[in-house]
Symmetry: C2
Subunit: 416 residues, 2 copies
């Protein structure tokens, strides 16, 4: 029996209903903040992702050569495609441009809890502005989304990549060596960072001070001891966040994120209950467009790991509303089947969702099917009632039923 | 400059808004008819598509081998994945099962008007019923969808693959030779069909009668001269369609569709104005599940070519509604910026869509930006008005503005 490929999933109707419910919350929140949707292809030139993430990404890509000899790859993330689409088609629009997107991404890795080979991301970018207001707007939307989804146990941490970068540069680290060291610091692997720093000529004293900065976390007061413009910038971002009225994020100067193209504020949200795979959102300000052949444009954005955030919600026992069919129409006998089809058509034209028995079921079995598809009402079409233009309307939860004129059906069903 | 791969497209915000509008009409129509959504992976084992469509499909597939040695392919259509998902996870559900799906499909072919390498399909299936009622329900939904989309110039043709199959069998054609001949008949290539039929021992007289049947098109009266159960079956389908209340499709016994797995009723919808690529919807009843390792289950379904139907709507000048942002908030001076953020947060929490100047624009430029992002109102936050808890509310279409209490803003904006 053919199965779906390893690391991918089929979403059956109950799953899908739940996923669309949460997706629509994200969309609505984005639109309320003035963001508009874009959509890019499922695959791109592989080079696009190498330019963004470095050649190591190739190991994780679903890469293939098409019949025309092009090296393509299924997208592992959507920031690079979004910025490419901006460079190709939106660069003359008035800035800043606020966009969002939602869709499948692909990574060839060992499937495990919260990690799939086909996974879903929701992301947003503000392109063409580099101000504390812009960063605040972006972080506020991330927090509003998590709140709107209804996640209870979460933590948002905000840092500034410039603080550690400057300290490393002051201590003698070259731009070339910087990314590898920052990646170690990001993961708090200080014993692995130290030899790299020592090789770059960093003194033990400077290293300790850098590790201390990387461990700095808490309220706005932890910025008191931090020199430079970055701390002032962060204080401004926090003041705008507070004005917008979202819960204040924690400051964590150790958040540097793994990638080279970040330029300033970086932030992450996590659902601690998820354990090792607890990060549900990550973002920051960056410059990518010039890498893809465009002008240098500053942006800020984030991505939400949709599968993980749904897992976190499920763990918290969150329940999404179930969509019910309004009416299930059954013909009590063969001679009134056409009438039953007429009624189902009329109900649908009146904006109601209506199903109909298609398998010539006997009444008891039809009622059972009506109940299994989750219909609120059954409409029983019988030749006796039809003589007076009526049908029986049965409330599927109470089991009560009464005769009702066909013309009154839509209002009666809607009224409940 | 990196571009999107050949045959793929970026959908920018205006495009995307239009596409989501029409997608939501299809979804809503499906839900009203009691269908529920499923989603399958973007890629599948390549074998799945070969089983459905024969080895010729390989030429058109984006096929690749993953790092684990699996032969995978981007899906070229979604019926096979839907039926695979049914066999794997839904086969014990009460039947019939009514599902729909929407998403990207991929075909490696020369891009041209209405044909893309990444294209979008909307499809629906009723699995586990083989009755005229089921076929009627399916065809009715296809027609309701085309009507709901607002397409004016379209034609639906319905046939029964059993009629030509039986005539061919009676004339001496074996099951093995049948598909190739049917494909020629489907395209009305009679001069190419004839030598194949002659090889199978079909007499010239029988051949002429078969060509005549394949050319039979018109109202229900054209079925009068057709022997066999198929014509009676079609008459029943048409009577249910008429009861549901959709426009009557044309009968066309030459509709046989290209594929082997159809079992009975087949139908197509076309938008004649599209020329060579005029087919916007195709479907019929079929049996596929046993090919994928499940039990034999009869189904009926259709797919709508979303890109083509949008092209047809565009050609007819159809206009979809533009979503506007409710309010664009601007601080008149630096000292009231925090207040502006407070107001934008408040408006969003009240369910309004609100944008805010992030680029420190002067007032005239900010108004221009508010207008370019399509905002209905501008909210101008000035220190004078703030003293009395007010802001200026400017109607962006009339240019009129008046002072208004901040607390009254949501109701005032909503009232327009």
């Amino acid at each position: 029996m053919i199965q779906s490929p390893r690391g991918t999933r089929d979403f059956l109707p109950d799953d899908m209903e739940r996923r669309r419910f949460y997706e629509s919350i994200l969309r609505q929140t984005a639109r309320r903040s003035g963001f508009r949707e874009i959509q890019t292809p499922i695959f791109e030139e592989a080079e696009l992702f190498v330019l963004r993430s470095g050649p190591n990404i190739l190991k994780e890509l679903y890469a293939f050569r098409d019949k025309g000899g092009r090296d393509l790859a299924l997208r592992p993330e959507m920031t690079a495609p979004a910025i490419r689409a901006f460079v190709n088609g939106m660069s003359n629009e008035p800035k800043p441009i606020k966009i969002f997107y939602f869709g499948q991404c692909f990574r060839y890795e060992r499937p495990q809890s919260g990690r799939y080979r086909e996974f879903f991301q929701f992301g947003a970018e503000i392109i063409g502005a580099a101000t504390p207001e812009t960063d605040a707007e972006m972080i506020a939307m991330a927090i509003m989304m998590i709140e709107a989804l209804g996640l209870k146990d979460y933590k948002v941490r905000i840092g500034h990549i410039g603080i550690l970068r400057r300290k490393l540069a002051d201590a003698g680290v070259t731009a070339e060596k910087m990314p590898e060291i920052l990646q170690k610091l990001d993961k708090k692997l200080y014993s692995e960072a130290w030899p790299l720093m020592e090789d770059s000529g960093v003194s033990r004293e400077d290293a300790d001070s850098i590790f201390e900065t990387s461990d700095t976390a808490g309220g706005v007061e932890v910025l008191d001891g931090i020199a430079g413009d970055e701390a002032q910038y962060m204080i401004k971002v926090l003041s705008y966040l507070s004005a917008i009225g979202v819960a204040e994020p924690e400051i964590d100067l150790g958040v540097v994120r793994g990638l080279d193209y970040y330029t300033g504020i970086v932030f992450e949200a996590e659902a601690p209950a998820l354990g090792a795979e607890k990060q549900v959102c990550g973002g920051g300000s960056y410059a990518l467009s010039e890498l893809f052949g465009g002008e240098k444009v500053f942006s800020t954005g984030f991505a939400i790991g949709f599968d993980r955030v749904l897992l976190a919600l499920e763990n918290e026992g969150a329940v999404s509303p179930a969509e019910k069919t309004d009416a299930y129409v059954v013909a009590a006998s063969g001679d009134v089947k056409l009438k039953a089809f007429e009624i189902v058509g009329m109900l649908r034209r009146n904006g109601l969702s209506a199903d109909i028995d298609l398998a010539d079921r006997k009444m008891a079995k039809a009622m059972k099917h009506a109940s299994s598809v989750g219909s609120r009402f059954a409409v029983i079409v019988g030749s006796e009632e039809l003589k007076s233009g009526s049908v029986m309307l049965r409330d599927m939860s109470s089991g009560e039923q009464k005769a009702i004129k066909i013309a009154d059906l839509p209002a009666e069903i809607r009224g409940h």
